[in-house]
Structure formats: C-alpha cells, structure tokens
C-alpha cells in the first residue's frame, strides 16, 4: 500500500499515534492524529471512513498545502484494534485538476450571473412594456381628444379675437399631432408584440407586393402597379415589409386637398445598393379653385405623422431608410433603401 509519496500513521481509538512515516511528523510533540489531520477529529466517525475513499483531502502543515487520497483500514495487534491510515500525496496531480476545475467553474459562475442579468433585464422590459401600453393607451388618448374637442367648440363659437383663434388653432393642431404619435406608437407596440423576427424567412419583393396590394384593396380607391425586376429572395419578415409598404402608400394617399389615382412601385438598381424601392404617386387637385400646392404643404404635417412614423420605425429594424420627395405635390415619391439585407440570389 505504501509508496514513496505516501504518509502512514497508525493510531488507536483515542487518536494516539503509535507509528508514523511522514516528513512533518514529530514524535516528540505527542500530537494526536486530529492535530495533523482535523478530518479525524471526531472519534465516533473513524469507522465511517474505513475502507471508504475520502479523496481528495486537503490539509496544511508547516505552511505547505497537501492534496492526498486517504485509505483507512483496521489492524489488530496483541488483541488490540488500531487504525492504519495511508495518505497518498497527489498534490501535483490535484493542483492541475484544481486549475482546470477553477476555470470551468468560473465559466459556470459568469454564465449564471449573465442569466440572472438577462432575467432582470427581461422583467424590466416587461415593466416598461406595461408602462408604454398605458402611455399609448386610451387612458391618455381620451383626455387629449376631449381637450381638442373643447378647443374646437371654443374655436367654432366665434366669440374670440384673432390672436385667441390663432392660438386655439395651433393648440388643436398640436393635439392632433400628439394623438397621431400616440396611435403610431400604439400600433407599433401591438405590431411588434404579435409579429417577431422568429417569423423571418427568405421571400421576394413580388410576394411582399402581392400581399401589400391584397390587404390594401378595400381601403384605397386607386390603382397600385408594380414594376419590379428583382427575383432575389431577402431574409425578412414578410409581415413587417408589407406593413412598411402599406404605411407608405397610406401616407401618399392621406395628403389633403388632392386625389391620388395611381401608385407605382419600382425596384431601384444601383451598383452599391443591396436593394431599394421607389414608390411614386400620381395625383390631381381636388378643387381647381384652391391654391393647392401651398395648401397641401401647410396641412400635410398634421395628417401624416402616423403612417410615415410606422414605416420609418419598421424600416429601421432592417437598417433601412425612408426618404420622401414632395417637391411636387402631384407627384410625390418615396425612396426606400436597404443596404444590408441578407439576400439569396436567384438561380436565373
């Protein structure tokens, strides 16, 4: 049993040492076994460890740390029962093992901490979500609508002077604007909750445009035409892209004082562009008596925030940009640009 890197002790039931082979053993000290090895401080448990491995066992003597495997056995001499303890010094082996295990445990610890951090962040987001739902909900929207209606009544009463009327008009416009923003945020919120990136897959612009047209048929009374020559498939959420196009078409249709009779969607082709779309509208003035160009420009801001905001926010999810060119109110165009979409080239 004994080897050159092993220590051996023979002791009795009281822990008194009768024999020892170990460099740190001092026969003159009269120390008991537990003073060398505190693991044997409890006499009642000696028998627990007979012929049972307790390893590795770590102890410190004379400022040196040992890692050992323990073997404890009974021996009988002159009718008396003793304990035969052999400690195999495996310090070098276990030090290497300790280094490996420390590294492994460090990963485990940091992983558990990161999981906890994620968990906390997730609950924080859920809390924010609830707050946002309140902020963009009817509880906030209704009072704004009431204030706007009240101001409208005041404005209609004609008992105000010019500056008061002007102030009320500005206030009504601002409130309409806030209402639109709230509606847009609310729609985005609901939208992002119901449709996630998990539903993203490869699809072509033609599929997206077909869907866009189909879902818009009942709400617009103008033609939607495509001029698409792009057979590539893009890794996008079709629902998101359909929503972007719908919002932009609605944006074009919502200009006051003019009548849109056609929207054409083309794909843009340039060397540096991964993909892009150009949406053009053709319109006529509703009344030839109006100074329509200026009137449209002055009214558009309060009517269109909602749809443009949705389109811009959703495009941003894909690193896209939306640029509106409304220099000519009768031929407003929108450029939709995505530079980093994942693309699966068509076979042809």
């Amino acid at each position: 049993m004994k080897s050159s890197n092993a220590f051996r002790f023979i002791f009795d039931n009281d822990g008194i040492i009768y024999f020892a082979e170990a460099p740190f053993y001092n026969p003159a000290s009269e120390k008991k076994i537990d003073e060398y090895f505190p693991i044997f401080s409890d006499q009642t448990t000696y028998d627990t460890w007979v012929n049972k491995p307790i390893h590795p066992y770590e102890f410190e003597i004379n400022d040196r740390n040992y890692f050992v495997d323990i073997n404890l056995d009974h021996i009988k001499k002159n009718g008396q029962r003793y304990y035969d303890l052999v400690l195999v010094d495996k310090s070098n082996h276990y030090l290497k093992f300790q280094a490996e295990r420390t590294e492994k445990n460090n990963y485990k610890i940091s992983n558990e901490r990161m999981l906890e951090m994620n968990h906390r962040l997730k609950s924080k987001i859920e809390q924010l979500d609830e707050i946002l739902q309140y902020v963009v909900g009817n509880e906030v929207k209704s009072p704004i609508g009431s204030i706007r209606s009240t101001l409208q009544v005041l404005d209609d009463s004609k008992n105000l002077n010019a500056s008061q009327t002007q102030l009320i008009k500005i206030s009504i416009e601002e409130l309409s604007r806030i209402e639109n923003i709230i509606s847009a945020v609310y729609e985005l919120q609901m939208f992002s909750n119901s449709k996630s990136f998990e539903q993203t897959y490869y699809c072509s612009f033609n599929e997206i445009l077909e869907d866009t047209k189909e879902t818009l048929i009942s709400s617009v009374d103008f033609e939607i035409a495509f001029d698409i020559n792009d057979q590539n498939q893009y890794f996008v959420n079709k629902f998101h892209f359909t929503k972007i196009l719908q919002s932009l078409i609605k944006y074009l249709a919502s200009f006051p004082l003019k009548y849109v009779h056609e929207v054409i969607i083309k794909n843009l082709k340039t060397e540096d562009r991964t993909c892009g779309l150009l949406i053009e509208s053709k319109a006529d003035y509703l009344s030839s008596n109006l100074n329509t160009s200026d009137s449209i420009k002055s009214l558009k801001s309060k009517e269109q925030d909602f749809n443009l905001m949705i389109a811009k926010k959703l495009s941003k999810l894909y690193g896209g940009t939306v640029s509106v060119n409304d220099d000519n109110p009768l031929a407003t165009s929108i450029k939709l640009d995505f530079k980093n979409l994942l693309v699966k080239k068509s076979i042809s």
Binding site: D42, R101, E112, E116
Partner: protein, 165 residues
C-alpha cells in the same frame, strides 16, 4: 467552563464562497483570487459562549460534491449544516434550498441558510425573495463572525435542551 466539540458542514454550489467564509472566520483572511476546492478540507476554531468552550470543526466540501448523493456520507457525526448561496446567482439559492430540504428530511441536523457576497449587490438586485438567516460578505467580513456564532449558540442550546429532557 465546559467544552464541546461540534462538526459543522458548509455546503453550496461552486464558487459561492464557502472556503472564503471559513478563511475569513478562522484566519481573518480574504483573497479575491478564486481557487476551486478539490474534495474536502477541515478547519478548526474554538469560540467561547458564556461558560462553554465550543471547538468547531468546520468541513468545507467542494461544490461538486453537492451534485451527487456522496455528500450524505460527510454528514455523519455532524451537528450543524450551513447552506451557502451567492446572492448574485439565484440558481445557487435554488440548488442549496432543495439540498437543505433533502438533508433536513433525512437527518436531524441543525441548519441555517446564508446568502454570501453581499458586497457585490447593486441597487437593481432584489434579495427579498431569499429566505435565509444571514447575508454575509467574506470579503468585508460582514456578519461572518455573527453567522458562525449563531450556529454555535444554537448547537449549544440544543445540547442543553437535550440534557434537560
């Protein structure tokens, strides 16, 4: 003055600070450097409570031992068990909570739960969900002495109660 000897075992997941708590209590030392405990280590410390000298034999078991049934063998002869968890890692609380319930079910041991590493807490961490006797920091020494004294007192009281019966 009479003397008693008590075996206490510290159990807990890896890296919760069992060894550091013992080092802080026994040697008044602390190091930020982490070395995983390999197997078993036993330290001794004697404290005096009123007229009783309590020789504490404090067993430090590697966190991995907790994950298999082998650690039940180390409980033999124990009077008390201290379940340690890291307050920044709820997973370590769940593990020790379940293990301690199992131990309580199988052995008549006095046990306490301790949340360690409170020095790492920030304002976003919620510790109210932890059901434990003490929150400690081996790094700063906060509540370490108190925690070991508490279990020693409980063990001595348990002995006195037993003697009266």
């Amino acid at each position: 003055m009479h003397e008693v000897r008590k075996k206490i075992i510290l159990i807990g997941s890896v890296g919760v600070g069992k060894t550091s708590l013992i080092r802080r209590f026994v040697h008044q030392e602390f190091t930020d450097e982490y070395h995983s405990t390999i197997g078993v280590r036993v330290d001794k410390k004697t404290i005096t409570l009123d007229d009783t000298k309590v020789h504490l034999m404090i067993w430090d078991l590697a966190g991995e031992i907790l994950q298999n049934k082998a650690y039940q063998a180390y409980l033999k002869g124990s009077s008390g068990i201290i379940g340690i968890f890291d307050v920044t890692r709820p997973a370590s609380y769940q593990l020790i909570n379940e293990s301690l319930q199992n131990v309580k079910g199988s052995q008549e041991l006095l046990s306490i739960m301790v949340g360690n590493k409170i020095d790492l807490l920030d304002e976003t961490t919620d510790i109210h969900g932890y059901d434990c006797e003490y929150f400690t920091s081996a790094k700063t020494g906060e509540n370490v002495e108190e925690m070991f004294n508490l279990i020693a007192q409980k063990l001595v009281k348990k002995d006195e109660k037993f003697k009266r019966i």
